[in-house]
Symmetry: D3
Subunit: 146 residues, 6 copies
């Protein structure tokens, strides 16, 4: 439905932040990236199915907050990334690294966001920075054919 | 463009983030804004005088992280603002609101940053949002001739 | 005991969480309680007027989450209180202490919530506990005629 | 030693929060649930054996805080759950989800606690919510024969 | 230097961490230090009087944890200080600064603790560092004859 | 004294905090300890290679902060450990447990640090305490011939 390029359905391709990957066979080297996305999708679907109206509205608001407005989409993803890094949530960091790259963020821009998170949040951010850098490589590798 | 009123040394005017206000007579309605800046300055000077080389280097790095690079100065201040809001530090929020406004951020842009901080950080951010909005009014009032 | 002054619209009285106190003259001993409510109201109104649709929807969701459902209103306020205490937000604690008391929470119940917050969150919670206990006294005093 | 009924010794069965599972062969589909409990037990025993009097007293207080008093056991577990969710500790969330279910909490009640944690703590709570929902399914599956 | 006024019971003098100042007339320059101690005392007494057995036991454990053992009292206060700084609790920081100074910590030692807190916790710690340095001056001034 | 096995470059041996283990064959029972160190090293090298001057300076400051000064190296590592425990960062805790042991900390001293972190930070620290105790055993086992 989303065409050739979207081998791995992604947020930007489909216009939905929470689109789930279908069961395509992916190269095993991609596994951590795809495992992350698959678990995220599966549980989001369960939560939206079993949660309350409040739960669903919150998830909806969470999507809307990153839509371009006075600030463009890339800047908003970077803002989500800096917030996620200082709060030290690996899944949130991975998500915003992925979204930032899809919105066109360069490595130089990502590292300047990392620097601000590191200075504001301190060395306690470093373990998350390590995983953010590792995850950004998975995103770049995966996005080679995007 | 900023005229007479801008005698109040500010970060952008002087090129130093920690320049201290001199003892000019300011309208009393400005007091909370100026009190904040005066205490900040006085203590920073003491800390830099009494601290170690490590303390001074950290303060220096803190300044450098917001200098324009791949990302411009306004974006970097907004990143510092979103990080400060989710970590819920009123002084840091006030500082980055002030800097963001000086770097040209509009109210629309500030509120989109506030939205992301609110969604990422939750309702626990609201009391800080109240004070951020109040402080932004003080900054705009102070900078009327900026 | 507070007589006329208790017209002060409160959450339970008006059915709205964010109703603002009108400018009635209140006994000075009530001031900290009322100052808290007045600033909260004034800024909430500004935020709702100047914020985005996302801001308004978030504030609306925040109200809905505490409406009775499978759990009753008092239990939900106590849940908001325990969350606010371990996150150490004085304004949020004050708000939920007030709401919990209005929903019928006894001092014994409040102290059992305080104990859980103390055990989960540690001694870092103690300064907030001090202010929570002080604020609960203001609420009880204020609500004498409620 | 714990007798027939306690196929898997659990908190409610034994009256002790920290009772350890004995080495029974469990269905492999249960493994994540049981692994969690087994590691928790093994390390708690080591900590209590090697720790100080202060350590042991803290662990004891932690147990006492959830005993029924002015508030019943289920409410107290839900309070521990909301506190653990906003502090974003997966192990603590898993523990209180398990205890809440054992104390009789329905899915509707759990989701209303999740909503409050989501609103208070923000989207940063979502990754923990995903794991909480997944873990609650393991608890329900495990408890089918309780 | 502080002469008579230093009768103010302090932790080290009385051997009790929570001894309350009696109502002596203190020089006004001391007020912020003494106000802090007076509010702390008044509320601790209320909490211990109105709280549960769990509350009282927790407060008791909190005192015991800092008693000398394998580590001496000064080291333990410095550990409490570094923990309080990265958790950004001004009252806790003030308390441990006071206790550390009473246990013999030099300014050089305090600043090395501040450095570690600054590096681990990041620039978000700086506003608390400012107040810690200011408070340490009040403690030194107050403790002139200690 | 430490014999062949200690070829594994460690912080104390090499005088550098971030020295990376070379690819020696290590006993499999050591794997979690060594995996931790290997990932840490690999990513630190990438970060230092790809990061900005600010990134590199921050990493450098992070090393300097723990060098002996008015406080000795062991005390500084214990301060880093208490800060890391209350901020609940497993990698940081593991790192400082390892460093503390290498700087000569006894188990009694470690447990007194754990107690302070537990009291200051609350039961939310317990899951990290479990992993800290487990990791300390790996460090002691690894360092048996140190």
């Amino acid at each position: 439905m989303v065409g050739q390029a979207s081998r791995l359905p992604c947020v930007m391709d489909t216009g939905r932040r929470d689109a789930c990957p279908t069961g395509q066979n992916l190269p095993s080297s991609m596994s951590r990236y795809d495992e992350f996305r698959a678990f995220r999708c599966e549980m989001n679907e369960k939560i939206l199915a079993r949660g309350t109206t409040t739960t669903r509205r919150f998830f909806n608001l969470d999507t809307r907050a990153y839509e371009p407005g006075a600030l463009d989409a890339k800047t908003k993803e970077l803002l989500g990334l800096s917030a996620s890094m200082v709060l030290r949530c690996d899944d949130c960091i991975a998500y915003h690294v992925d979204q930032s790259i899809k919105a066109g963020a360069s490595d130089e821009e990502l590292f300047e966001v990392f620097d601000i998170a590191l200075i504001v949040g301190g060395s306690i951010v470093i373990p998350h920075l390590r995983r953010a850098v590792e995850f950004s490589e998975l995103c770049r590798a995966r996005g080679g054919s995007d």
